[in-house]
Symmetry: C2
Subunit: 260 residues, 2 copies
Amino acid sequence: MTYCLAIKVKEGLVFASDSRTNAGVDHVSTYSKMHNFSWPGKRSFVLLSSGNLATTQAVVKKIRTDAEDATVTSLRNVSNMDAAVNYVGKVSADIQRAQAERDTAKSNFEATFLFGGQISGHESGIFLIYPQGNFIHESAEQPFLQVGETKYGKPILDRVIRPDTQLELAGRCAIVSINSTIRSNLTVGPPIELLLYTNDSLNEGRHLTLAESDPFYQTLSDAWSEGLRHALNGLPPFEWEQQLKTAQVVQETGPSQVMG
Amino acid sequence: MTYCLAIKVKEGLVFASDSRTNAGVDHVSTYSKMHNFSWPGKRSFVLLSSGNLATTQAVVKKIRTDAEDATVTSLRNVSNMDAAVNYVGKVSADIQRAQAERDTAKSNFEATFLFGGQISGHESGIFLIYPQGNFIHESAEQPFLQVGETKYGKPILDRVIRPDTQLELAGRCAIVSINSTIRSNLTVGPPIELLLYTNDSLNEGRHLTLAESDPFYQTLSDAWSEGLRHALNGLPPFEWEQQLKTAQVVQETGPSQVMG
């Protein structure tokens, strides 16, 4: 399994991914699922991959080789974000179909992607690309997209992420969302990769790879656990606890000794 | 779907359940999934149900009618918790088998239960009963059990619940766990039922039904959202944010004017 997410806020884009791949419970490996395609000052894209690793590796390779060849459509020459995501969806669907045609065992070659970025002079955007190559974008009501093992990390995003959330805060929220998933599910694992893209920067963005031993990651994880405990301790008491407390106060402040 | 959970801490037991049932997306109803079987001073049990509603209703009815009949095994006369959970598992498996024998359409009659309680002179316990009637209990490393739509509400339990967690705190944590699930998933819905059983009380426990409009539930939900935001704001800044802040401070405290 996998857990990747992308967030769009007013300031820019957040991309985050775990790094665990597995075939059954035996073949467990670590692979980066975050791929950056940037032409500084002109355009910058990020692709997060989940699904069949042979498919996703082939898709990334095809995107890179197309971009070297000026005679074909590629991320280097598409004219807008819609054309960019359409191109990636077509590359993915074509590769899956080619694999399926050779297959004799009804294997699953499917891959799902989160894709986003910005082309100079256009608005930035994030998209979820289905295995069939079609896609959806985020919206003001749904400013984040997830793929893979999405449920554990969704409540914190549902409560916190709004279009006006500050970019770095959304980034920390993404780390928390993946960290919580890693703690609850074995098929999602470190390191966590995070990329923050500031709108109109048209650069590669700020990229972090957070291993479990990373001091910043540990501090953040501990601070989050502490913050949750604090939040839980701040919840209102049940009615009977208040009554018990009142009873106790009365007892403690009982009648004073008469002194003469 | 459904979301039920049971927690065992040193002080006692926590049971919590949502109340949504559905058949496809059309037949959406509200049913209590929490059932109490108590003989004050002697024994007290709680059953949380998920799965086929006809099965779970039949199981609860059978448990109640058996308890009225002194000549058969029932929750009223079993001698220990193991016999109690075995009895419930057998009732459930028998009812499912009877339904399956009449079936011509490969329908799903399965039901899964969380069951727990205490018999005078014995330790309290919680159990997850599989559709097949066999069961598992909690452990010190895994002091809670969940059934149904379990993933959204698991991270908070993983981080907070330990055997020495205070009973009421574990109860509030259970409400938060279900509240988060309700916000993220349509198939889990209010009201939330909560039951706190204090060890050796051998009574029905403290029972709450929290509708969405309940003032305590609203206060708790708001306080939790606020607490999460506070926890998020308390996370350590990224390295570049610290540098920016330092740069700013230097600027603000720049060279003092020389006065003469």
